[in-house]
Amino acid sequence: DQQVKQNSPSLSVQEGRISILNCDYTNSMFDYFLWYKKYPAEGPTFLISISSIKDKNEDGRFTVFLNKSAKHLSLHIVPSQPGDSAVYFCAAVPDSSYKLIFGSGTRLLVRP
């Protein structure tokens, strides 16, 4: 029962262009969303988050958009850099819960 889905296992983008990573969720009780980035042989690292009361949060080159009616969020990276090449996990936190529910990840490759 996948409550958080990342339907694209991989994405390849040219350096300097925009990377758009997508995430869908099924549980309307989720009220906080996060993106984590993971390099090989390392643990995930927190990247950016958004509360369900907002529809956009921006931090430098990273912007997360939330569309609650569609139960969809996306991470935009612009401009993309080769160092952004990693696996990106979308995660959600249910209301009144302490745990992160992760998607299966999208592998981003930024080509020089």
């Binding site: 906080y32 042989a41 643990g43 995930p44 690292t45 927190f46 509360s51 696996v87 249910p94 302490y98």
Partner: protein, 114 residues
């Protein structure tokens, strides 16, 4: 200076053995977690401790037993290892157990049961 450290990084063992994975965080966080990344790459929470008290215990076989001697440590002991236990196990910590707190993850322990 590693924030969340796990040992060992790799662990290969035979079925039926008992093994432990250790985790330590030096961030002064109150809450620690164990996550399992399965073969389909999903990260799923197993346990969470807040100030040495168990607050999350997902549907995990009772062969898995977390132990928190103090709030900086959360070890995972696994009895009678099975082939299906092969996975990458991540320890994590967060400042507190309030929902939405961003977690810091260790580098993972790749467990292979043969």
């Amino acid at each position: 200076d590693t924030a969340v450290s796990q040992t060992p990084k790799y662990l290969v063992t035979q079925m039926g053995n008992d093994k432990s994975i250790k985790c330590e965080q030096n961030l002064g966080h109150d809450t620690m977690y164990w996550y399992k990344q399965d073969s389909k790459k999903f990260l799923k929470i197993m346990f969470s401790y807040n100030n040495k008290e168990l607050i999350i215990n997902e549907t995990v076989p009772n062969r898995f037993s977390p132990k928190s001697p103090d709030k900086a440590h959360l070890n995972l002991h696994i009895n009678s290892l099975e082939l299906g236990d092969s996975a990458v196990y991540f320890c994590a910590s967060s400042q507190d157990h309030m929902r939405g707190a961003e977690a810091f993850f260790g580098q993972g322990t790749r467990l292979t049961v043969v």
